[in-house]
Symmetry: C2
Subunit: 394 residues, 2 copies
């Protein structure tokens, strides 16, 4: 199921062509999602720096610590692997990167995503400007635009993610009951879904996520009852009560790709106020679905949804834009936001998740993941959206 070598090669070829068009001799990419995208190598950024080097002829090299060398050799689609013994060590690791650049003919002018490895987890080191004597050209815009258009294989992986997120969410809903706690329910649902996924896909499964542990997961992120009014509230092992509004989230990383499924559920009969906000939320999401089509701009979608907030006097309950792209990152650009004028194109994959947040009453948000087609959208998530299906019996 994973992305094949030919697709990785084509991605790198497009990058090399961009480098040539900018008269750059090569590029250094530090962001681990970019590295996964171009050469299929998954790693977590730590104090031990790592980077991908691509030169203008399309040759690739990985720069890694000694303890990642075999891992990089086996998994990264590269012609060169340069390593260094350890960080900080007596000689700075960046000397090995400088040698790799030399070896691959990457010298002034060069491109990069950021001017030097980020100072995370205690790492300190020179910028690329300091290391090479030349300030790199930021090529992030090209990379982000390339990643924004997904291939069929990528959309299939996001769909695979959605399937296991759906299972986790189904179990989450099934186990949610008055008196249970969010932690026991979400852990049980996530574990059962994960074990089923691992047995179904088999030992070839790789999560390769920089964000989530391997496996399927569903939970509440603390958006329970009155806390549900805070969009990104922190979990707190809350006990479920009748009348709680719940905002869920479910996903599963598969070979680096993610989907997003979120639902608003209610425990027991909803109040008329809750019902009203729920129905407005569904209508907001429908408005967005209709507005997403090739040729429209991302801002048009947010604008269409904002017109609904206007028309129904819902601005007191607004807290965020309609959604974002998704793929190797669980959030990525472009954004369904009034400030993003990117033209929507086939192959883009978005989450669609306008929300309503009422202090003391709860938060109301569904999120679905959709792929843009030639004339509209395909749903990659497919969990029921209606209030009746999402009411937990008491």
């Amino acid at each position: 199921m994973k992305i094949g070598d030919a697709e990785h090669d084509a991605r790198c070829a497009a990058l090399a062509e961009h480098l040539r068009s900018r008269d750059l001799t090569g590029a250094v990419l530090f962001d681990n999602s970019y590295v996964l995208y171009y050469v299929g190598f998954a790693f977590i950024q730590t104090e031990r720096p790592a980077a991908l080097v691509v030169n203008a002829t399309g040759e690739r090299g990985m720069f890694v610590p000694r303890l990642e060398r075999e891992h990089a050799q086996a998994n990264a689609l590269v012609q060169h692997v340069a390593d260094y013994p350890e960080y900080p060590s007596e000689r700075h690791p960046m000397e090995a990167l400088a040698r790799l650049l030399e070896e691959m003919g990457v010298r002034d002018p060069i491109g990069s995503d950021v001017d030097g490895y980020p100072w995370v987890l205690g790492y300190r080191g020179p910028t690329l400007t300091e290391l090479t004597g030349t300030t790199p050209e930021r090529i992030t815009g090209f990379v982000e635009d390339q990643m924004a258009i997904k291939s069929e294989a990528e959309i299939a992986l996001i769909g695979e993610s959605a399937k296991w997120g759906n299972l986790a969410h189904m179990l989450l809903q099934r186990y949610t009951r008055v008196g249970a706690t969010e932690t026991e329910v979400s852990r049980r649902a996530s574990t059962e879904a994960t074990l089923a996924m691992l047995d179904a896909i088999g030992p070839i499964y790789r999560g390769q996520s920089m964000f989530f542990q391997d496996g399927a997961g569903a939970g509440y992120r603390g958006q329970i009852g009155r806390n549900a009014a805070i969009p990104h509230a922190l979990a707190n092992n809350i006990v479920f009560h009748q009348g709680d509004i719940l905002v869920t989230g479910a996903s599963a990383p598969v070979w680096g790709y993610n989907s997003e499924l979120e639902r608003t559920m209610v425990i027991g009969e909803p109040s008329s106020q809750q019902r009203e906000l729920f129905e407005h939320m569904v209508a907001l999401q429908d408005t967005a679905f209709e507005a997403i089509k090739p040729g429209a701009r991302c801002s048009d979608v947010d604008r269409a949804v904002r017109a609904y907030y206007d028309e129904h006097a819902l601005w007191d309950y607004w807290k965020h834009h309609v959604g974002h792209a998704i793929g190797i990152r669980y959030h990525e650009g472009p954004f369904l936001d009034i400030g993003d004028n990117t033209e929507i194109a086939p192959g883009m994959v978005f989450t669609v998740e306008p929300g309503l947040y009422a202090a003391g009453l709860g938060g109301f948000r569904h999120s679905d993941t959709v792929a843009v087609t030639d004339d509209g959208i395909d749903f990659l998530t497919y969990y029921p959206r209606d209030l009746e299906s999402l009411t937990i019996p008491v």
Copy 2:
């Protein structure tokens, strides 16, 4: 149990004093671990930028997206909260940061940890240099040095983390059996330890981790059997077999602080080769424990351990240095590494984890978390270290 306001105030006062000593009018900190350290506010870095501003008089302000405003007002120990509606929005969020800097009298010259919010998850925006017209002075060294010396309250939190990591590890070992899979065992152990921890500490518990989900966890990170020779192998739902060497990991985030417990276990009677490498690994760790004392340098510890590798001809099995500091980050500086000449001081907390990796045989590594005292070390982790205790019956 969490860090109190007085301690946060004292941390900020020390930072403000540093700013004055450098003739800086203030500083902008983007790293979320720094923000948690100074004002107790936990958040995940997304495409919606956030930052802490501290001015030279010690006043603090948080810059956050609209949907984090209430969260920041309730939890961040700051006098100002500046928000922006959304990212990207029609006006760039950084305009709101510029206004906050103005309001707090932070202008040329300023300090920062990085020149602008990092371009993560699709975020794009100006550097601080572009925003303010002045290139910030990097103050990361001061911040890292301050964070390296832990208070009694911080060491108590790391010890609390170690307690729940110990429980998770105890269950992990108990449930590990021939024929079981790593995923079912680690999920079961982690869930049971988490539920016990949440019930024991009660609803005041906050994980506040940027790295781990709330709760206690123990697992294998794929370091099973022959794969155990790769230090940071990826998990793969492996079935346990007799003769497997297992390298574990356990921790629990508590109010932002982490500990690290790792053990080498063997399923069934170890081979003589396995026994030999295990005993060398324990001796390497003992060597490190003895070398850690105030006044010694971090490099001295690595050097003492390297002498043991020399003496016993173990270099073929070496892959990494002795350890690293730990606290709000699961890895942080200083490093027990030949290239780090930082003087060891009371209050520093280190992981001690020299390893031996033999292809085809397995990896051998214990990791313990220790706090430096006036004359040596205190153990914060306390799980059995001997081979007999770590042998899984068959």
